[in-house]
């Protein structure tokens, strides 16, 4: 066995008793080298998860070199420490979570100086790790684990008997190190990515609406599909606005990962906040643009904001650099031609124009992000046309989402994430048959349904206002009289033709004599607003039937 040679090329700073070794090149006997190489390059090793791979390598090293201990320590870059990750013979090193500062002791020096170090007699050497002394280890040999010029850890072997580790031992250890280092690097990179991915996915999920509200006169479906590898900053939002209107938002933050997901959350909140201030879509996006500029960090996003009014069927629409919406009707689909304003955060004081178009009953408004239609080497307009064809025959928002995803999302997954929000103006039935919870907040819902129904019956502004207040008063009575301990409900029926409409509200309680001025006033309102009012006391409750001839004004 050859004597270790002290290195002369660079002069590492070493502790006492430490001897730096020059890398071993071709020192092994050819047959021995081939044998070792073969063992360490067994292809089945690369299929193992990192822990198993390190375990196998440690076993191989221990057998080949006939040493008592083998250990691998990995660099913790943030802490500038080496942490024991795998060991044979000194397993406590891992269990006790031994950490060695870079530059300190035996392993720390190997990492700092990036050289192999040999210690002939531990008793006289600079050693930080107490376990090595406790175990009675006498001689040590260690090598740095290096990937693409960067240190990722240290691997060392030890002997309970004094031993002169030679160049051939070093060569074997270097082979094992060469095998371990890239695997460690890959695994830790994957772990980092997975961690970031999990954080982004969790963030993304937490920032999207949990549950869609119950909207009157519209049906909504949404999707969020994460990308195969990275999380992006796509989002959608659906919220209720005054007078039964519904706000739909779709957006896409430029970038990926946690940062994009976090900005997405802020933008989603910003759009919603300005929207409930009753700004129209154009002004809302202008304000969000100012918000993005005020963040003081480079940020850019595209977004579109649509407000649908179920009473007028009008969609007010504004877009900041976002792709055009698709509308699906009974005669097929069409891409709505709107000129987008610049993306959010692109130019100071950008203006955002507002567009208006009609969404007829049963038509579907389909908003999406570019991940759905963008394919490498295919013009974007072709992707949008393909989307329009895919959703062509959808009868509902759910069907449209499904058709778009089956038609456009490749089986191997998406390169970019995708958000979709689709809204349909649902048809109003000729007759209303509703069973509603006897709670005060139901009233606003009743008024929304009823207004829409009255508009469909041809009711004019006065008709709608007066019938609505009368029916709402009758429902308020039903709610006030719902005394049952179980969750109470009441029924509302509405029907009519030739301008003669009837609304019946039936509850399960007993109407008491009007309580004070308040209820009395409610009955007066019903009587003045309707042509005929009948209050019937049934065994099971009370029914008020109200009839009115529409004035069409």
């Amino acid at each position: 066995m050859a004597e270790p040679r002290a290195t002369r090329t660079h002069r590492p700073r070493l502790g006492s008793g430490q001897i730096a070794l020059e890398p071993a090149d071709g020192i092994l006997e050819p047959s021995e080298q081939v044998r070792s190489s073969l063992r360490f390059s067994d292809p089945s090793l690369s299929e193992l998860p990192l822990d198993r791979l390190l375990d196998e390598l440690l076993n191989l090293v221990q057998e080949t070199l006939e040493v008592d201990t083998v250990a691998i320590l990995l660099l913790d870059e943030d802490a500038q420490q080496l942490a024991a990750r795998a060991a044979k013979g000194i397993e406590e090193e891992v269990e006790r979570g031994v950490r060695i500062p870079i530059g300190g002791g035996f392993a720390g020096r190997i990492a700092a100086e990036r050289v192999a170090i040999f210690i002939a007699d531990v008793d006289h050497a600079d050693i930080l790790n107490p376990i090595l002394r406790e175990k009675g280890i006498r001689s040590l040999l260690g090598v740095p684990l290096i990937v693409e010029g960067r240190i990722v850890g240290v691997m060392h072997v030890g002997s309970l008997q004094p031993r002169n580790f030679g160049q051939s031992d070093l060569a074997v250890l270097q082979l094992a190190a060469a095998r371990a280092a890239p695997a460690i690097e890959r695994a830790s990179l994957a772990a980092r990515l997975e961690h970031e991915h999990n954080v982004s996915v969790a963030l993304q999920r937490s920032l999207l609406p949990k549950r869609l509200g119950n909207f009157v006169g519209v049906t909504v479906a949404t999707r969020y599909l994460p990308a195969r590898e990275e999380v992006g900053g796509d989002w959608y939002d659906v919220f209720e606005l005054p007078r039964g209107r519904v706000g739909l938002v779709i957006g896409d933050v430029v970038g990926h990962g946690v940062a994009a997901a976090s900005l997405m959350g802020r933008l989603r909140t910003a759009v919603h906040s300005y929207a409930i201030e009753s700004h129209g879509p154009g002004r809302t996006l202008e304000l969000v643009d100012r918000f993005v500029h005020s963040l003081g960090e480079p940020a850019m996003a595209t977004a579109a904001y649509a407000v649908f009014d179920p009473y007028t069927s009008a969609v007010q629409y504004a877009t900041s650099g976002h792709l055009p919406p698709v509308v699906v009707g009974s005669s097929g689909s069409r891409v709505i031609d709107v000129t987008p304003a610049p993306p959010l955060g692109a130019f100071p004081y950008g203006r955002c124009a507002e567009h208006e178009f009609l969404l007829e009953s049963e038509e579907i408004l389909f908003l999406y992000t570019d991940g759905l239609v963008e394919r490498r080497g295919v013009p974007l307009s072709d992707g949008i046309d393909a989307l329009a064809r895919a959703v062509d025959e959808a009868d509902s928002p759910e069907e449209a989402c499904l058709a778009a995803i089956t038609g456009l999302v490749p089986v191997e997954g998406l390169r970019d994430d995708v958000a979709i929000v689709a809204l349909q103006s649902s048809p109003v039935p000729d007759e209303l048959h509703l069973r509603l919870p006897a709670e005060p907040k139901t009233l606003a819902q009743v008024r929304r349904i009823l207004r829409r129904w009255l508009v469909e019956r041809g009711g004019g502004e006065t008709d709608v206002a007066e019938v609505t207040i009368a029916v709402s008063e009758a429902c308020a009575n039903a709610i006030e009289h719902a005394y049952s301990p179980a969750p109470a409900s009441f029924e509302l029926h509405a029907w009519g033709d030739n301008g003669d409409i009837t609304v019946a509200v039936r509850d399960e309680g007993q109407w008491r004599p009007p309580r004070g001025e308040n209820r009395g006033r409610g009955l007066t309102i019903i009587a003045s607003a309707m042509d005929d009012v009948q209050v019937g006391r049934l065994d099971s409750g009370t029914e008020v039937v109200m009839r009115r001839r529409l004035l069409y004004r």
Binding site: E240, L443, E466, I469, R521
Partner: protein, 121 residues
């Protein structure tokens, strides 16, 4: 979502409360209590601006009557801003009720009415 909102501001000698949205039994009492709680003891009174209210029914009318009574017991006045063609105007008409306070059509008129010396003094 919340179906109504109230914005409060101070004018000389008065609290101006501007209601928006829909007022019914689900929120009328809270809205009334919010306005009353914000009214300074030394104000002449309250201007309740109902011009932007989209819906108001007997529950709202009841609360406004209650506000008027409380204010009067403190020596304060209630002036309502209700334009001629507005949902609140229609609700009051349908209810046939006595007007729950002095009614004007615009905010400026309300402030003038509130600061004018009471008749007969």
């Amino acid at each position: 979502m919340s179906i109504a909102d109230v914005q409060l501001s101070q004018a000389p000698g008065a609290l101006v409360a501007r209601l928006t949205g829909e007022v019914d039994m689900s929120n009328a009492e809270e809205l009334g209590a919010t306005v009353m709680g914000a009214t300074p003891q030394d104000a002449y009174g309250v201007v309740l601006d109902l011009s932007a209210v989209e819906y108001l029914d007997s529950a709202g009318i009841y609360v406004i009557h209650g506000m008027r009574a409380s204010l009067q017991s403190r020596g304060q006045n209630l002036v309502l801003v209700i334009p001629a063609r507005s949902p609140v105007h229609d609700a009051l008409r349908l209810s046939g009720a006595e007007r729950p306070g002095e009614v004007v059509e615009e905010l400026d008129a309300a402030l003038r009415a509130l600061n004018a010396p009471p008749a007969g003094s």
